[in-house]
Amino acid sequence: MNFPVRSSIPKGVSPPSKRSQSPWLLYSVLGGLLCVAFFGSVSVGALKFSLFDAIRHPSSELSFIFWDIRLPRAVLGLIVGATLGLAGAAMQGFLRNPLAEPGILGVTGGAALGAVAVFYTGFATIFPMMLPVGGILGAFVSVLLLYLFAGTLASVQTLILAGVAINVIAFSGTSLMLNLVKDPYAVLDIVFWQMGSLADRSFQHVFLILPFVLAGWCLLLWDGRALEALSLGEETASSLGISLKVLRARIILGTALCVGSSIAVCGSIGFVGLIVPHLLRPFVGYRPGKLLAASALGGAILLLASDVAVRMIPSLVELKLGVVTSILGAPFFLLLIFRMRKKML
């Protein structure tokens, strides 16, 4: 290029190094932590035994506990955690708002309503595939409503209000169905399911949602560069060759696919998508694109660790995972709002 050279760096002083900050160190640290969390998840439970024994004796009871109870629980934790972290980062990047999160904005609520509807009508017992489909449809409608209510670049207040509205709609729909169910045990089932849990899930659940989740992940991870360009505003992004219509469609569809199907088998698990991107953002230099993969890893770590905590906290009944993430996330959410309010003053 033939630009006139006008540098303010005096001669003899070397300019800052050309190497760009690589996120690989962060990815390896997160990968290491994820291995630890995964190992923790398959090791911790009511029965203490050596994993080595369980694998060495394939027909033993221990082996059954490992392969059919612990392992699917850990794999599902990894998948759902990664989904929630990734979807949180993608929504925050797209809406350019650090408070965007599937739970707060009603996507989780919508997915739960969709899944409960499938439970309630009995479709889930006839066609198991209908469960994730119900969740995905619920999530899809919620994201669409959110976009219609608030649009992109809405103020924090508009966005949160739109989320409140969608959550209220989803909650009333779910309540209506609970109200209409005749069998009290079914009511209890649905209520417990709504609290969110990874317990008593099998590899059947994993395989049921895997294709949807993977499709959703691909759609969201594809958008890294577009989200980076979007940090300069919509006009600049489109002048850089980003088609906003296509980006919007991918984000809405990707979020609905992975969040909807995950929530459909695990129940409502909130705040993971809020906490994780917020904690990791400084480590990727605030880049919305690089944050996607980092948040997926971070989300998986947080959910697996919380699921280990659920099993280690002494209580009469096992705590529900969604309850634990909410206990962690709610104060965090309040702290974020408090800090943003201070900035606005």
């Binding site: 540098s7 303010s8 800052p16 980076e228 006009e235 060759g241």
Partner: protein, 256 residues
């Protein structure tokens, strides 16, 4: 061949005519200044040229080819756009922002190549922002931020640069620096269309000027022809002082 050619552009927004019968061209090596009172349609014209607004009539040609035949990405490689408000939604490092200029040349999965890194560094050197490369953009002063945004624009190596009020809110030294920078850019065979409110800068630095008034081109040509007392009187309702010591210049003097 002209870099950019607009023919009889007609743009309506919410049923109101904002641009009417606007025709002009931009050739290699020239800075064309777009001036006119507030609300005369300057920003609308730029948005129409980048394809963000669809004209109801007329057409735009880029490098001799109709603009609508370009894909979004192809257009982005030829045409760089600097919007009026420099929005940055996350506290990114300066070098990351400049690197976004390379977006039109990269596939979604591709990382910056060495050649890209060199272009990015050249753009920062040209805009005197290399020493800021690791700084967060929200910690920069207004002038520095504009220079960073221009570096982002240059990193895309566009043949045509459209800048909407790049000197808005800058002190005289930074404003002159930006205009000198644009002069250096067109020396390399590019073309710049720049919206300016500062008539003194427009008269000093532009090769040609387009004066927009109520959505129509009221005058176009060399600065001394366009910024004449009659044109300034009808479009801006002002009088100006003129100088011709070291080249032509205009200083707005009083309202009529």
């Amino acid at each position: 061949m002209n870099l950019l050619q607009a023919e009889k552009l007609h743009v309506e927004l919410d049923g109101f005519t904002v641009l009417e019968d606007v025709s002009f061209s931009l050739a290699k090596g020239e800075i064309v200044g777009l001036v006119g009172p507030n609300g005369s349609g300057k920003t609308t014209l730029l948005k129409t040229l980048i394809g963000a607004l669809k004209p109801q009539g007329g057409f735009v040609e880029i490098l001799g080819k109709p603009a609508r035949d370009f894909s979004t990405q192809e257009l982005a490689r030829q045409l760089g756009y600097l919007p009026q408000e420099a929005e940055v939604h996350w506290p990114l490092a300066v070098e990351r922002i400049v690197a976004l200029g390379r977006v039109p040349f990269l596939m979604p999965w591709e990382d910056l190549k060495n050649s890209d890194e060199n272009i990015i560094e050249d753009a920062m050197r040209a805009t005197d922002t290399l020493h800021l490369k690791r700084r967060r953009v929200d910690h920069l002063a207004g002038g520095e931020k504009v220079l960073v945004m221009i570096a982002r624009l240059l990193a895309g190596e566009p043949k045509i640069l459209l800048a909407d009020e790049p000197v808005q809110g800058l002190d005289p030294s930074h404003a002159l620096q930006v205009m000198e920078l644009l002069r250096g850019v067109v020396a390399g065979g590019r073309g710049v269309l720049v919206v300016l409110h500062d008539l003194a800068l427009a008269s000093r630095f532009c090769d040609r000027i387009l004066l927009l008034h109520r959505g129509k081109i009221a005058a176009s040509g060399r600065p001394e022809e366009v910024l004449s007392p009659e044109h300034l009187k009808t479009s801006y309702h002002i009088e100006a002082k003129y100088g011709n010591g070291d080249g032509f210049y205009v200083v707005p003097w009083k309202r009529i």
